[in-house]
Amino acid sequence: MAALTGLERVSGAARPAARPRRAWWRAAVFLPAALYFLVPLGTAFWYTVHSPATGVSLSAYGELLTADGFARSLSLSLGLALATIVLVLALALPAMLAVRLFAPRLRPVMEVLCTLPLVVPPITFVAGIGTALRGGTDLLAPTPFWATLIAAQDPAFPVVLVLAYVVLVLPFVYRSLDAGLRTMDVRTLVEAARNLGASWPYVLARVIVPNLRPALAGASFLTLALVLGEYTVAALLGYEPFAVWIVTVSGSKGQLSVAVSILSLLLIWLLLLAVSTVFGKSRGEKRK
């Protein structure tokens, strides 16, 4: 039996006798699941292209793409997502490496810190942030920091949102990177590179990052998806990125709001596809 160890992924093949019995069982699971997941997809699309008055037309999508604020809100969301990814990776990766290499005793602390945001639902977080911002603005009014705080709340590019999003994605990024770092011998790799005279930035860029590609891809995708779909924090702090704009623009227009929902589903799918294509090579290697 030990010869089978390499085959656990195709576990079904090891039990041919059980197969005919399981066929109906699987159909009984897949059919309702397919109905449940595909019917809303289909009906939502039908709803956007068909109306009793005008018949079938794609006008809802045309109206959407030309609606006021579409480009602005989408580019704001993408900008926020990009800034969040850069900041969270720039903060988390050095910290995790430093703890691994130099201060293993800090590791439980890091783990707890990076898990804490999971316990805090976004709406409670925004309650805290909103109160802190108002209090901070009053408190800092006589000092130069006041201007910084105001600048961070600029509606054109609210840095506050980036900061909040970094906290919200930290648990996912931490777990993704931690899993990635587990698969390599960080200490040996870094020591070898350093002994050969590589500088720290070089070690990071040419040794650590290439080994972490799948983990970085996973972390980036999660961050992108979270930031693009994030509504609670942005709406309650009064900003208008894509997810909030969707609600504003659709208002009472039913078709438009559903069209925009389909668009955001497509967006998530394309992102996932893009991330897995760009980083697909290393994933394929791992499969073998």
Binding site: L4, V119, P121, G130, T131, V258
Partner: protein, 280 residues
């Protein structure tokens, strides 16, 4: 920084790399957290328990119970259905089916918020396509069970993603060994597979509970205030369509939420470690 990394020797400053993250965390997470706790225990400018007491009474208590009940139902249903779906996918011979379902799960698990609400309103809402066909009574979607159906749309995929690696880790040898020792299929599941999978399943339940518990945008777009939920109460207390002093009630409600979420998470973290011991 010329020192090699061989040992964490005293005086090495390498740990400073962790400093930016710690400082960032203290500022962006620590300050709002302290403000929240302080605000929750302050009424009319002096320390008091009045906010917390009020947040656990009347409409606020109903909303909290509603949220917990909704999240628990979604988590249990989602976990059971998601596990079945994951098992069907993992044991399927078709790689195409497997990849398709797992990719779709990745997309749908991240599909939430307002767009999700719009999707279901178009399907089962008052002027929805399907509700017209099956003659669904008006308003059926905008109820507790309507929310359950909608929340399952991202919860089941989330469970599939959580369970697929665990189910992949079930070795055929274990089943063969059980069968070889004369165990029935039921005994295999009861004494071998379920104990190995239990931590993953429970972890998934906690994950789903947390996601449903903190969901706000979907509920807000769908039911407004028809179904009392604690996230909706916090939002309405925050956005100031009520009296001024209610901000601290919002903070007290937030604290309640964090406590509930924290208790649930406390189950999850030790479990996660246990799962990884068996399934690698």
């Amino acid at each position: 920084m010329t020192a090699a990394v061989s040992k964490a020797r005293p005086g090495s400053r390498g740990w400073l790399g962790a400093l930016p993250l710690l400082a960032f965390f203290a500022l962006v997470f620590g300050v709002p957290a302290v403000v929240m706790v302080a605000g929750a225990f302050t009424a009319q400018g002096r320390p008091s328990l009045a906010n917390l007491a009020q947040s656990l009474q009347g409409g606020y208590l109903t909303a909290m119970i509603g949220s917990v009940r909704l999240s628990a139902v979604v988590a249990l249903l989602g976990a059971v259905l998601g596990t079945f779906l994951a098992y069907a996918v993992v044991t399927s011979r078709s790689t195409l089916l497997r990849e398709a379902v797992l990719t779709a799960s990745g997309v749908l698990a991240n599909f939430g918020g307002v767009p999700l609400a719009f999707f279901w309103i178009a399907t089962l809402g008052n002027s929805g396509v399907v509700s017209g066909l099956v003659g669904l009574p008006s308003g059926s979607l905008y109820t507790f069970w309507g929310l359950v159906v909608v929340y399952l749309y991202f919860s089941i995929p989330l469970m599939v993603l959580a369970m697929a690696p665990a189910l992949d880790g079930l070795r055929p040898q274990w089943r063969e060994a059980a069968a070889g020792s004369g165990a029935t299929a039921w005994q295999y599941w009861r004494f071998v597979a379920l104990p190995v999978l239990a931590p993953a399943v429970l972890g998934g339940v906690v994950l789903l509970f947390g996601a449903a518990f903190s969901a706000y945008a979907t509920a807000n777009a769908m039911v407004g205030t028809v179904v009392p939920l604690v996230t909706l109460k916090i939002a309405s207390a925050l956005t100031g369509d009520v009296l001024v002093g209610y901000e601290n009630i919002a903070l007290a409600l937030s604290l309640d939420m964090v406590v509930v979420a924290g208790l649930v998470m406390a189950v999850y973290l030790p479990l996660q470690r246990r799962t990884s011991r068996w399934l690698r």
